[in-house]
Symmetry: C2
Subunit: 410 residues, 2 copies
């Protein structure tokens, strides 16, 4: 067992739960009890019964997010079940609170059936202002998310897809700024066709990328290739216009950008050497990347990012979801649409000022306190602009609230 | 609007949520993040995957309770829906924490269908150490509870039934001590055949009461009466041996004890006058009791209890559920069986010492700090004795833990 693993066991065994419930009102005498509970509590109940929207005024629904998993794809551990997924979900809830002031609660499901997952989440939705899907295997995650978005009037966000996509778009944006290339003109090779890279591809295409080729374990994905599920086929239709075939080693040749969300060591020094000048490499497989930064540099890469905190340019989802939900919740958004995701990405990229921007610093640190307010306000503004916000707030209100909520959480 | 109602609105609008999530671990640098979240968190996940019981050691499951409602019978307000039920459920969660150190979370369901409720609760059960059912209409509440108890290996407890029954048994026990009568010899008249009185009747019968007659809106319930649901029929079989018919006014004559869980003003002074000497009257309809204490006294009642905090002898469920769950959770009980409920009742009654016991003091105050440790330890001991506890603890450990957890919560 590594030191980190034994330290993690020690911490988890000591705390026996990384989160708890806290009462915000004191009930230390009969009067306080009568106001917070019966009989006084009947009055807010009556009012919400008459006007359902008041549930956002009298309860914590405005700030409750469910972190929902079926435990089928937890970290790199695979299908380990709902109980074994709990430490990750509690951890996610801790990050929601500490980095976004969001009250998140773990919902680990004793079912793997897509219908049952959808039904269960719909059934518990009245309590929550948003749903964060987590560690659900693909392609089930796509179907579950799609149906929940259609059927619920609160944001539903699969972080493994869109969170990763948002941070990657931020990183690519700043990296291209350094190398002086345009998104619409670069060749992008991606390896791994799971939830993350499918979402990354879609978001890059939405933002103007035109030359992308996505590889899975069988090599390049192209329209008409046999045996692909619907969501892969959908991506095939908008990428690889020249119907390139072959392995990643073929596909990566002359690419300006490589994005790996696949497995350890799948990219060699020679493969990086075959890329275009000023190559940008995001090798985010965790804990062992597709190629380590020093090797990638040996191959001539100018900018390298990984999923790890011990190297520069960490593609870390904690830069995204806390602020994305903070902003969505604050304007009571009905969903988190593409415009809001894009706004989050550019807000993250924009946190790095021109004077801070360099090859080792294309995405902010997870602990950069500018991130959450910037993301929350950008997301809230995009929500208001695209008509999915139920309430209006000024940019300053969102920023102040994000700062306050995060400060209060720590 | 009464002063209390406007005060309740003010409080709810100010706090916008009476509870929140709190992080118990600080994640203020990369190392802390790596231990509490990825990659370190993978190790507790792996271990739970190998041995599911470890979820109680590495996560907060040991202390999480779901407060589940479908919003069909909230307080006296009826079927107001899941959103309007939220203020009550959040209030319940606050009481769980402040009076029992239990981390309870509201689950307000967007379905009223018994099958769906059962399925949904089973699906979310991996996160929780116990399930508290709340404000579900009858007879559905009986079916839902029964099925969940059978199908889950964590405690499932419908507080409106059993919580009320436990406190009532405590009150009746101490009241009979004062008037010098025995439970096996008294006549008990009950009005209202909802969840509370059905559970009260069963618990009193289990503890030796032999002469009970339960009335509903059609009068006395007797075996073979037509149009009763299964759960009422079940109670009819163990009560009213002489098949007495007629209204409450008939049934209450010569009764030693009256227990009302029905509606406002349903008992008159004359009805109390018709009771036996040293009559005991528990009129717990809320907020307006079946008869007010001064009126009952006029009718000759010696001991009167209500559901209200502004009169002596409040039958208040907060005396029960926090300690019951505290004790059940501490020994990882698989269920809350009859023996545990009875133990809770006598523990509550026993908090009142002989020198404290009098007509105005048959149940402890909600704020009596002796209650939770006494109830928790009695419940835990009963669980261990009846073989439903998964871990063993000493009485002293349970008492100390209860004191510590409650203190920490406030």
């Amino acid at each position: 067992m590594t030191d980190l693993n034994s330290e993690a066991i020690e911490l988890h065994a000591k705390f026996r739960g990384k989160m708890e419930i806290k009462s915000r009102v004191a009930v230390n005498d009969g009067h306080a009890l009568a106001v917070a509970y019966t009989p006084g509590v009947a009055e807010p109940c009556r009012r919400i019964n008459k006007n359902k929207e008041l549930v956002y005024e009298y309860t914590n629904k405005w700030n409750f997010v469910a972190v929902v998993t079926d435990g089928t794809r937890v970290l790199g551990l695979g299908d380990i079940g709902p109980e074994a997924g709990m430490p990750v979900m509690e951890g996610k809830c801790v990050l929601f609170k500490e980095f976004g002031g969001v009250d998140a609660f773990p919902i680990c499901l004793a079912t793997k059936d897509a219908d049952e997952i959808v039904k269960t989440v719909k059934n518990i939705a009245p309590v929550f202002g948003g749903i964060n899907l987590e560690d659900v295997e693909n392609p089930k995650c796509f179907e579950v998310e799609k149906r929940l978005i259609e059927e619920l009037d609160i944001p539903v966000f699969h972080d493994d897809q869109h969170g990763t996509a948002v941070i990657t778009l931020a990183g690519v944006t700043n990296a291209l700024k350094i190398v002086g290339k345009k998104l619409g003109e670069v060749r992008i090779a991606l390896n791994g066709a799971g939830a993350a890279n499918i979402a990354i591809t879609k978001l890059l295409v939405k933002e103007g990328a035109r030359d992308l080729v996505l590889c899975d374990s069988k090599g390049a994905i192209f329209e008409g290739r046999e045996g692909m599920h619907d969501y892969k086929a959908e991506v095939a239709r908008v990428t690889n216009k020249s119907k390139m075939k072959g392995s990643l080693a073929e596909v990566i040749k002359e690419a300006d950008v490589f994005i790996g969300a696949s497995g350890p060591g799948l990219v060699s020094v020679d493969m990086v050497k075959s890329m275009a000048n000023d190559a940008v490499v995001f090798a985010v497989a965790n804990p062992v990347p597709e190629i380590y930064p020093d090797e990638a540099k040996k191959g001539g890469a100018r900018i390298v990012g990984t999923g790890r905190s011990d190297f520069p340019n960490q593609i870390n989802n904690v830069l995204g979801f806390p602020g994305i939900f903070r902003g969505a919740l604050d304007v009571r958004a009905k969903k988190i649409n593409e415009e809001m995701k894009v706004a989050a990405a550019y807000a993250i990229a924009g946190v790095i000022t021109d004077s801070e921007l360099n090859e080792e610093n294309v995405v902010p640190s997870a602990f950069d306190e500018r991130v959450c307010p910037a993301v929350a306000s950008a997301v809230a503004e995009a929500a208001m602009k695209t008509g999915v916000a139920r309430v209006k707030k000024t940019k300053e209100e969102i920023i102040e609230n994000a700062k306050r909520m995060v400060k209060k959480s720590r």
